[in-house]
Each structure stands twice: as structure tokens, then as C-alpha cells.
């Protein structure tokens, strides 16, 4: 034995930083209400050592060999992982066994759900995988629930961890959605220009000899109020319908129609044909714009704080954004309304420019042309 040990000593006379990656498993859990959906990546090398995957002992682990052991792998892995919600042990439902390559080789991917009897609030996770075989193994856990996200490394000295996931913060997510709403109305030029085009003529009226100013501020405010309210109600309706997935339209159609709406209101400013019916036009096109908002909202995580909070917050944000536009445009329009500059340059030339831009958008969106990247 002495010579044997001597050999070992010689092996290590020059310490060499372990260069090969050590053994890790990657556990991703994301919780929602009372369900945790999970993905667990475990190295085939580790499973081979623990369970022996290579049935024919030829050194090659095939998909069939892995699949043959899927039940054993599942039982083995989950006997080393316990997830409790308060005192209640969550039950598992395995969905699929897949494969993924990490930089150090192939991993078995266990896709599963854990069902807990109550809404997930306080989780206790106990991880022991491979610790009896390899104390240098680590379990890398990423756990998420709406705004909550935490990363934990399990080791033989740290096998348990408690997480207080609690209820997500409604106020926080409401604020987030309001901000998104405001941002969207301001950053989405098409909504902005649509509104501006609707607002510009509200301070003047077209007569047979040209434009003339409206005199009564009350009438103007009433007109503007009707337009904004109609637009709001309309886009709220379609936004809700779309987010609830009751109605869905292809986004190319929606985006083209929105461009079209901008063209129409701009043309109306040059050759008025809506007249006093501007609010109903706002309503009709508001329906279309609502679908546009929905496509933004659906790209966001709606689970935080629930759908109600998301819809309400986003709509509120859009309103705030709209009112800010009104607050900026209306006073200046009101004071400039009698001037040639306003009537010719802003209202007519401006609308013409907007119309041309909207025509470009329309062609781009409807025909999928790349004229100008908006």
C-alpha cells in the first residue's frame, strides 16, 4: 500500500486547479398560486455514477438508455428533494424527460409541476441530491414568483432553505403598469399622432370661406372631453377583450388599421367630413387602438398582481398619458387658434405631414415593406 500512496502523492505534487467543471445540478422553480413549475437539469455523468445508465457498458449513453431509466431517475431525484409549502408537502407531477447540453456535457432535464394544497407563501426546500456520493456536488436553485426571484446554492452544509414568497405587492405592480401605459401612449407615435390630429381642429371650425375660431371655451372643452372619453371607452373595451383572449386579430391587420385611422383623421383636418361627429370617429378607431395596446400588454408578465391590476393600471396609465397630451396641446391651440400660423401651418401643413407619415406606416405594415423603420 505504501507504494500506492506514494504514487498518489506523486500525482499531486503540483496542485492543479481543477479545471473540469465540478458536479452541479440546476433547479429552476417558478411559483404561481398553488403550483410550482419546475425544470431540473442533472448531469448524465452524475446519474451514471449514481444509477448506472450505461446498460450495455459501451461507454456511450444513448437516449434509449436514458429513457429506460426515466422512472428510476425520477424516483431517485425526487427522493432527494422535498418541497413544502408551510407544513404541507407539495405533490409532484412529472411532465417530460428531455435533454440539454451544458458546457460540460449532456444533462437530463426533468420537467415537472408541484401542486401544493394552498397558495404558495412560505416554501421550505430540502435538497440532498448526490451529497452522500459527492460532497463537492452543488445544487443551484433559481426560484421565482412574480416580482420575487432568488438564487441559492445547496451544499452538504446547507441543505435547507426557507423562502417567504408571500403575496405579490399589488401597489408596486399597479404602479408598474400605470408607468407602462403612460410610456406606451407617449412612445407609440401612432397613438400620439392620432390624438393630436383629433384635437387640432377642436378649437376651429371650417366654413365656406376658410377656418374660423370657435369662441366658447366651454364648447371646446366639451368637444375635447367627448373625444377623449369615447377613445378611452372604446380602447378599454377591445383591450379587455383581447387580453382575456375573447377576441383576437392578426397584429398586421391591427397595425395597418391603426395607420389607416391616422390617415383618415389627418385627411379630415384638410377636408372635414366628420364635422361634429369626431367623438364617434374617436370611438370607432379607439376600438382598433385597443387591440394595439393589447399586443403590448400581452408581451408583459401579467401574473404579478393579477390580470385585473394589469388591465386597470395600464388603462389608467394610457389615460394619464392622454390627459397630459391634451393639457399640452389644448391651451396652445386655444390661444393660437385665430392665427394664420395655427390654421395654415399647424392644422393644415401639420396634418398633411402626419398623413404622409401615416401612409408610409400603412404601406409598411400592410404590405410588409421596409420603407422607413419607425
Amino acid at each position: 500500500m505504501k507504494s500506492n500512496i506514494l504514487l498518489l502523492v506523486l500525482l499531486f505534487l503540483s496542485p492543479f486547479a481543477w479545471s473540469h467543471k465540478a458536479s452541479d445540478s440546476f433547479l429552476n422553480l417558478s411559483a404561481e398560486q398553488n403550483v410550482i413549475s419546475g425544470r431540473w437539469d442533472i448531469a448524465l455523468r452524475d446519474l451514471e455514477f449514481a444509477l448506472g445508465l450505461d446498460e450495455d457498458n459501451n461507454g456511450a449513453i444513448t437516449w434509449q438508455e436514458l429513457r429506460n431509466q426515466s422512472q428510476i431517475i425520477e424516483n431517485y431525484a425526487f427522493s432527494q428533494l422535498q418541497v413544502k409549502n408551510r407544513t404541507d408537502v407539495c405533490t409532484r407531477e412529472m411532465h417530460s424527460l428531455q435533454v440539454d447540453y451544458h458546457t460540460d456535457g449532456a444533462y437530463a432535464v426533468l420537467n415537472f409541476d408541484l401542486y401544493c394544497s394552498q397558495s404558495i407563501a412560505e416554501l421550505n426546500i430540502n435538497y440532498q441530491l448526490f451529497f452522500d456520493l459527492d460532497p463537492t456536488h452543488r445544487g443551484l436553485l433559481q426560484i421565482r414568483k412574480s416580482n420575487f426571484s432568488e438564487f441559492v446554492v445547496f451544499s452538504p452544509d446547507h441543505q435547507q432553505e426557507n423562502f417567504t414568497l408571500g403575496q405579490s405587492n399589488h401597489w408596486q405592480s399597479l404602479r408598474q403598469f400605470v408607468a407602462e401605459g403612460i410610456w406606451h401612449i407617449w412612445a407609440g407615435y401612432d397613438h400620439l399622432l392620432f390624438l393630436i390630429c383629433l384635437l387640432l381642429p377642436s378649437v376651429v371650425r371650417k366654413t365656406s370661406i376658410g377656418w374660423e375660431q370657435k369662441d366658447y371655451l366651454r364648447n371646446i372643452l366639451w368637444q375635447v372631453g367627448k373625444i377623449v372619453t369615447a377613445f378611452t371607452i372604446a380602447h378599454s373595451i377591445t383591450l379587455i377583450l383581447a387580453v382575456l383572449q375573447l377576441v383576437s386579430l392578426p397584429s398586421r391587420l391591427v397595425e395597418s388599421a391603426i395607420a389607416c385611422s391616422v390617415i383618415l383623421v389627418a385627411v379630415n383636418n384638410l377636408y372635414p367630413f366628420f364635422r361634429e361627429k369626431a367623438w364617434s370617429v374617436a370611438f370607432a378607431f379607439g376600438l382598433i387602438h385597443g387591440f394595439g395596446f393589447a399586443s403590448v400588454l400581452s408581451s408583459m408578465d401579467l401574473t404579478s398582481g393579477g390580470l385585473g391590476v394589469a388591465l386597470f393600471g395600464f388603462n389608467l396609465g394610457v389615460e394619464v398619458g392622454q390627459l397630459a397630451i391634451v393639457a399640452i396641446i389644448l391651451p396652445s391651440a386655444y390661444f393660437l387658434r385665430s392665427s394664420w400660423f395655427y390654421q395654415r401651418m399647424i392644422l393644415q401643413a401639420g396634418s398633411l405631414a402626419i398623413m404622409m407619415l401615416a401612409v408610409i406606416w400603412f404601406l409598411q405594415r400592410a404590405l410588409d415593406l421596409r420603407i422607413y423603420e419607425a
Binding site: 498518489l8 500525482l11 486547479a17 481543477w18 434509449q64 449532456a106
Partner: protein, 396 residues
């Protein structure tokens, strides 16, 4: 474009572990997912390991099985450069030390395992324990000398090498002593002595031979005898066993000699090995290889992962990576310092100095110079690094 890539990999690195590739369901039953190294299924040793595991399962209290199996694991971890097997050895030895904390053989094995996890303090504790029971214990003295050398405690190392002489192994004692002696003011004498011993044609075991010739090559390199160093490295290679320490050291030598193409030829296949992948990537950068972006991304992922799992044994390499590819001298310096507190081999000095120069940290440079003056360090590589002062030119 290249700069942009490096910037992007920094960003991507932050998301490592969060973003994972998409898993897939293989289409064919016979699709090979993982190819195990030959040593794990074909060799007599692998069969022995299997039977020993069964024996141990049936009779957990059999030290002989534990001992044999631990040896196999430790050897496998070395040949495969895979730390898992160190873990497997640890798992079967730890229970023995819980019941009998002063048993010599388990303590020596644990010292080896701890040394390789760069837990030098723990390793020293185990070795002192053994030496307090048996002061002349051959293996314990040899390992202690090695750990002391790595930590820059050269006189302590030499003392324990000399204890080997009393055990009738003058030859081993001299090889043992050559590295610490060469690093503490006796480089030329150590070189001549070791060269003489190795040229005497004495038969040596495979690993002994690789170790001795590699040590000689390193001493020659530090002395600036580049041609001789290369010859000695070749002698170690001719032993015919692919040794990871040799690969790493020779790759560094070739980089320093501005022979990146030889580095690529030497270690192009060793991409699973972080230390070698780093050296490969440096060579690829010097030759503008198309593989470079992939390899840099992999390295970045692996260093991030090592940090996440709390492993600090890669800090020297990581500092070099960050300095060389990330262009963040301050961060590299911080890592190089942390590394310096644990180990002080020549490569650890190189990276600390290079990072300090790049970060314009004169205080660190001064401290390292003082340390070298105390130890009478002789190393042309260090002289080169200090002479350039820009921290470039030397790719090591």
C-alpha cells in the same frame, strides 16, 4: 466588433443560469447523448472500481475496500482532471474520520483531497496530525513539502523534503527539494543537481518521471534556459502519459515563448478543461482564430458558475481571463490578490504583477518586489513582466 462581443459576453454572463438553452427531446433512440471516458468502462481499473463499490455497499466497515476505492477515485480524478472523483473519495473517507479521527491513512488521503480543493489550511492540519503521531511519515512529509512550496513557504518545504532523506530515499528528497530551493535563491544549483540526477539514467516510475522532468523544465525556464527547458518538457512528454499539469505548464511556456500555434496544436481538444481552455483561448486570440468567440463565452460562463457555487480555486485563472479578455484591470487585480493570499506559485506572481501594472497599483508592485527580495526569487518571466511595465508582451 470584437470589443462589442466582449462587452456582450459580460452582459450575457450576468444572465448565466437565468437563461438556459432550450431542452430537447432526441429523435432517435440510439442517439448518443454522452460519451464516457474510456477509463470509466473499459479498463481493468474501472471493473475493479465497480466490484469495490459493490463490496463496500455490502460491507461498509471494510477499510481495505474504502482505501482501494479511494485510491482509484483519486487517480481517476487526476487522469480525467475531473473533480467529481475527489468528491467520491471524500464521501467514503469522511465517515471513517468521524469514527476514528486519528487514523493515519484516512488522514493522509483527506490531506490529498483537501490540497486539491486548495484547502491548504485543512490539508496542513491533517498532515500535522499525522506527523505528530509519526514524524517521519514519508507521504505526509512529501505532501507537506508540496503544499508549503505552493504557499511560498520555501524553508518549511525544504525542511520536510530533508526529512525524506532519513527515510532512505535520497533521490526523492532531492527531487522534492529542487523546486523550493530553486525559488529561494538557489536556482542554478538546483538546476544542475536535478539535471545531474535525471541524466544519470536512473529508472523512474511513469509519474515520478513526468514530475521530475517537468520540475526541471520549469526551473530551466525561470533561469532563462529556454532551449533546455523545451527539451526537458519534451522528455516529460516522451514518458507517454497525457498529464494535465504538464499540459498546463507547457502551454504557458509556449505562450511565453510566443508560440501560440504550438499551443493550439497541443490542447485544441481540451475544451472541457477550464485551465487549458483559458490557455487555448489566449493562443487563439494571438492567432485571431475563429474559435475564439465561442471559447471566450464558454470560459465566461464557467467562471460565473464557479463563483455562483462559491468555488475560489480558479481565481488565478479568472484574474488572467478578466485581464486578458475582459480588460478590467481592477477586478483582475482584486482576484489576483485573493488568489495570492491562498497560493504563491510563480504563475500566481505573474498574474498579480500583470494586474497590478495594468491597474497602475504601485503599492502592490512594491509589495511583490519586497516579497521576491526576501525569497531571492530568480525568474526571467517576472523580470520580463517588470521590464515591459505595460503588462503586455508576455502572454502568460
Amino acid at each position: 466588433m470584437i470589443i462589442f462581443r466582449y462587452f456582450m459576453f459580460g452582459l450575457l454572463g450576468l444572465m448565466t443560469g437565468v437563461l438556459q438553452a432550450e431542452p430537447f427531446t432526441p429523435e432517435l433512440d440510439n442517439q448518443v447523448l454522452e460519451q464516457l471516458p474510456r477509463q470509466l468502462f473499459q479498463t481493468t481499473a474501472s471493473k475493479k472500481v465497480k466490484s469495490l463499490r459493490v463490496q463496500l455497499k455490502n460491507n461498509p466497515n471494510d477499510w481495505s475496500s474504502v482505501n482501494q476505492l479511494a485510491h482509484h477515485y483519486i487517480e481517476l480524478s487526476k487522469t480525467l482532471a475531473d473533480p467529481r472523483y475527489m468528491g467520491y473519495a471524500q464521501a467514503i473517507i469522511d465517515p471513517w474520520l468521524e469514527t476514528a479521527p486519528y487514523s493515519i491513512q484516512p488522514l493522509v488521503l483527506r490531506a490529498i483531497i483537501r490540497q486539491n480543493a486548495h484547502d491548504f489550511t485543512g490539508a496542513m492540519e491533517d498532515l500535522d496530525q499525522v506527523l505528530s503521531i509519526q514524524p517521519g511519515h514519508f507521504q505526509a512529509n512529501l505532501i507537506k513539502a508540496t503544499v508549503a512550496t505552493v504557499q511560498g513557504e520555501y524553508s518549511l518545504a525544504i525542511e520536510h523534503c530533508r526529512r525524506l532523506m532519513r527515510r532512505s530515499s535520497l533521490f526523492m528528497a532531492l527531487i522534492c527539494q529542487s523546486t523550493p530551493a530553486s525559488l529561494s535563491g538557489n536556482a542554478k544549483r538546483s538546476y544542475q543537481l536535478l539535471h545531474q540526477i535525471l541524466s544519470s539514467g536512473r529508472m523512474m516510475a511513469t509519474k515520478e518521471s513526468i514530475w521530475a522532468w517537468t520540475s526541471l523544465a520549469e526551473i530551466a525556464w525561470r533561469l532563462g534556459y529556454f532551449k533546455e527547458a523545451d527539451q526537458h518538457f519534451q522528455r516529460a512528454r516522451q514518458v507517454g502519459v497525457r498529464d494535465y499539469y504538464w499540459l498546463k505548464t507547457y502551454a504557458d511556456f509556449l505562450l511565453q515563448q510566443k508560440r501560440p500555434l504550438d499551443v493550439i496544436q497541443l490542447i485544441a481538444v481540451e475544451t472541457k478543461n477550464d485551465s487549458l481552455l483559458l490557455r487555448l483561448a489566449i493562443a487563439e486570440k494571438l492567432t485571431s482564430s475563429r474559435q475564439l468567440p465561442d471559447h471566450v463565452t464558454w470560459l465566461n460562463d464557467r467562471f460565473q458558475l464557479n463563483r455562483k457555487r462559491g468555488s475560489s480555486i480558479h481565481q488565478g485563472d479568472e484574474a488572467r481571463f478578466i485581464l486578458y479578455f475582459g480588460n478590467q484591470p481592477e477586478m483582475a487585480l482584486q482576484l489576483a490578490w485573493q488568489n495570492w493570499l491562498i497560493q504563491r506559485e510563480p504563475t500566481d506572481i505573474y498574474i498579480l504583477l500583470k494586474a497590478a501594472i495594468a491597474a497602475h497599483d504601485d503599492e502592490t508592485i512594491k509589495e511583490v518586489k519586497q516579497w521576491m527580495a526576501i525569497n531571492k526569487t530568480e525568474d526571467v518571466v517576472i523580470q520580463g513582466i517588470l521590464a515591459t511595465q505595460a503588462g503586455d508582451g508576455y502572454e502568460i
